[in-house]
């Protein structure tokens, strides 16, 4: 598999980008380091969603729940227990994946819109319980001041930790998408009925994809806590889930790295537009409308169309 990665045409540029990102904190102001780290966390979250949406074709409308569950798990374990901190870091993604398995098991029995609506309702139940359980979860105040291991006490160290975890997760996701499982998942996206006919238990594969995706969402949740040292109920609210969806759309959901681009654009814009105006949501709404009308393939999809005309033109022509 590593031969596969090294020979891919993105390998060289990726190494260069990684090195640049690695040394960047030494030169740029703290604030930018923080923003970059936030972009990494959000990218991981968007990539995890795209596993099931762009590559799996499922209507995962409340993916944010698993992100929030991962974050709250590690937050509660670090703040309220005296267990070694690294157990919290491991528990976060695992609990997220377990919740993903439970919610996913009910959702895969339905298709499309019903899948999405059931997930929104199950996810909202979790949100509303966390929102109200003031004594345990801090309710709508959230949990501030979460302690971190000494190794991660500085922003720079947190940055490196997050960056390395992001790269590891991206490599894993790449391998998964290029594997037989990934191939089959994309076939399920394109034609689930045909997949059943060629011997694939579609529901089981979708469930496995959901568990993998929610595991990575849980990792993103843990990384959020590492960066922010706090958790809020917003992480579990449906608006965030739709925002991640938009990030995937923005970047291009049929490409591998599209969601990263989408996350970077949205986080960067939100931060910098937010300096000038408090009406970022308005701008996001307008951008989304422009995207829907003019760039439905997303930014990366659009560039792919320009640089690979043969393949995409053929695909467009065939699909008409």
């Amino acid at each position: 598999m590593f031969n596969e990665i090294i020979r891919s045409k993105w390998f060289g540029p990726s190494i260069v980008i990684f090195l640049i990102l690695f040394i960047l904190p030494l030169f740029i102001p703290r604030f930018y380091t923080y923003i970059l780290a936030l972009i990494y966390v959000t990218s991981l979250l968007a990539m995890s969603l795209n596993l099931v949406v762009g590559h799996g074709g499922m209507f995962q409308f409340h993916h944010g729940v698993f992100y929030g569950v991962g974050a709250y798990t590690v937050a509660l374990m670090l703040k309220k227990t005296t267990l070694p901190m690294w157990t919290g870091f491991i528990a976060g993604p695992i609990v997220a994946a377990i919740i993903g398995l439970i919610i996913g098991w009910f959702c895969v029995r339905l298709t499309r819109l019903y899948f999405g609506m059931l997930q929104i309702s199950l996810g909202s139940l979790i949100w509303v319980i966390v929102f109200r359980w003031y004594s345990f979860t801090g309710g709508d105040d959230g949990i501030p001041g979460i302690p971190m291991p000494p190794l991660l006490s500085s922003l720079k160290n947190s940055y490196y930790f997050i960056l390395i975890m992001l790269v590891i997760c991206l490599i894993l996701m790449y391998m998964i998408l290029k594997s037989p499982f990934g191939s089959t998942l994309q076939a399920i996206r394109d034609n689930p009925q045909r997949c059943e006919a060629i011997g694939i238990n579609v529901r089981r594969y979708q469930l496995i994809a959901i568990v993998i995706a929610t595991f990575f969402a849980g990792v993103a949740g843990v990384l959020f806590v590492v960066l922010e040292r706090s958790v809020f109920t917003d992480l579990l609210f449906w608006v965030l889930s739709l925002e991640i969806f938009i990030m995937c759309l923005f970047g291009g959901w049929f490409t591998f790295a599209g969601p990263i681009l989408g996350a970077a654009i949205i986080v960067a814009l939100r931060t910098f537009v937010g300096i000038f105006t408090e009406y970022w949501t308005l701008i996001l709404g307008i951008m989304l409308i422009l995207l829907i009308f003019f760039l439905p393939e997303g930014v990366m999809g659009y560039f792919e169309k320009i640089f690979k005309p043969r393949t995409r033109e053929a695909a467009e022509g065939g699909n008409r």
Partner: protein, 291 residues
């Protein structure tokens, strides 16, 4: 358990369910005809409430509220008509996911527009003199305004039923919900049918917002909390089914208010649990979906 507390809570729940029904009836109607869950529905509801506030401030005295009740929903309907004709109608050929994301974009924009026009403070509206105070029913004390809601709800239901079953446009909308191509083949302009259905649905959101104004604090974010409840109600009722919206609203409204008697801190959790239970048993909703 105190029977009067029980019945008073039940009636409060019932009145809340009526507002939910008016809003969800509109949402369900749009969902049925256009097959798109309109996320902007919550924002339009919010605009209805804020507009009611402004109108009652502009026109003092009890008549202000009644005028607001008529004008605010019309304003909401106008906004939805503009959004539909200018932008939405060009997307009808696209996949439903894109339409859904479009409605999300509109909700983001409208949400901030409300912030720009009205600012972030809480607003409130008091009920008109006719409906102030409480009345005694079955030994329970019920605010007059809530009784008003309990009466209005079924009236709206009847009006909606008459519209969809007895008027030409209503029947065409129902047909378009089931088979839009066929309706097009019959020479009817499907785009206009969608426009009418969308505007009517949004009008109802405005009515709901106007009606809720005297009972709750009018605040930014009420669009978000409402739309999630509305989605859940419409899902458990059966997508596109107006009676399903009624059933769902009743379940939601009553479980929430009864929850106060059982576990006050978690009263808001009860309707969500009820929704989850319904969906696990009947994932496609209690009543038949329109499609």
């Amino acid at each position: 358990m105190d029977i009067s507390a029980f019945s008073s809570q039940f009636l409060v729940g019932l009145s809340r369910a009526m507002i939910l029904f008016i809003v969800c009836g509109g949402l369900s109607f749009v969902l049925g005809v256009l097959r798109v869950p309109n996320i902007a529905h919550g924002s339009l509801y919010m605009i209805g409430a804020f507009a009611t506030f402004t109108l009652t401030k502009l026109i003092p005295g009890p008549v202000g509220f009644w005028i607001a009740l008529i004008v605010a929903p019309l304003l909401v309907a106008l906004i939805s008509l503009i959004a539909e004709r200018a932008l939405f109608c060009h997307l009808y050929q696209r996949e439903h996911l894109m339409l859904l994301l479009f409605t999300f974009a509109i909700s983001l924009i409208l949400g901030d527009l409300v912030k720009i026009v009205w600012g972030p403070e809480y607003r409130s509206v008091s009920p008109p003199a006719l409906l102030k105070g409480s009345i005694s029913i079955f030994g329970a004390s019920l605010p007059r305004y809530n009784l008003f809601l309990i009466i209005i709800g079924p009236l709206v239901a009847i009006a909606l039923w008459l519209f969809t079953n007895k008027t030409k446009i209503g029947k065409i909308s129902r047909a378009a919900a089931v088979d839009r191509e066929m309706v097009g083949v019959l020479g009817i302009n499907v785009s206009w049918v969608f426009a009418v259905a969308f505007v009517i649905g949004c009008y109802l959101a405005g009515v709901g917002g106007a009606l809720v104004a005297p009972t709750a604090s009018i605040v930014l974010g009420m669009d978000h909390s409402l739309i999630i409840e509305a989605f859940l109600i419409v899902t458990i009722g059966g997508l596109g089914n107006m009676w399903g919206a009624l059933v769902g609203s009743l379940i939601f409204g009553v479980t929430q208010s009864m929850g106060v008697l059982i576990w006050p801190q978690f009263t808001i959790v009860f309707p969500y649990v009820a929704v989850v239970v319904v969906l696990l048993l009947r994932p496609k909703g209690l009543l038949k979906s329109v499609w």
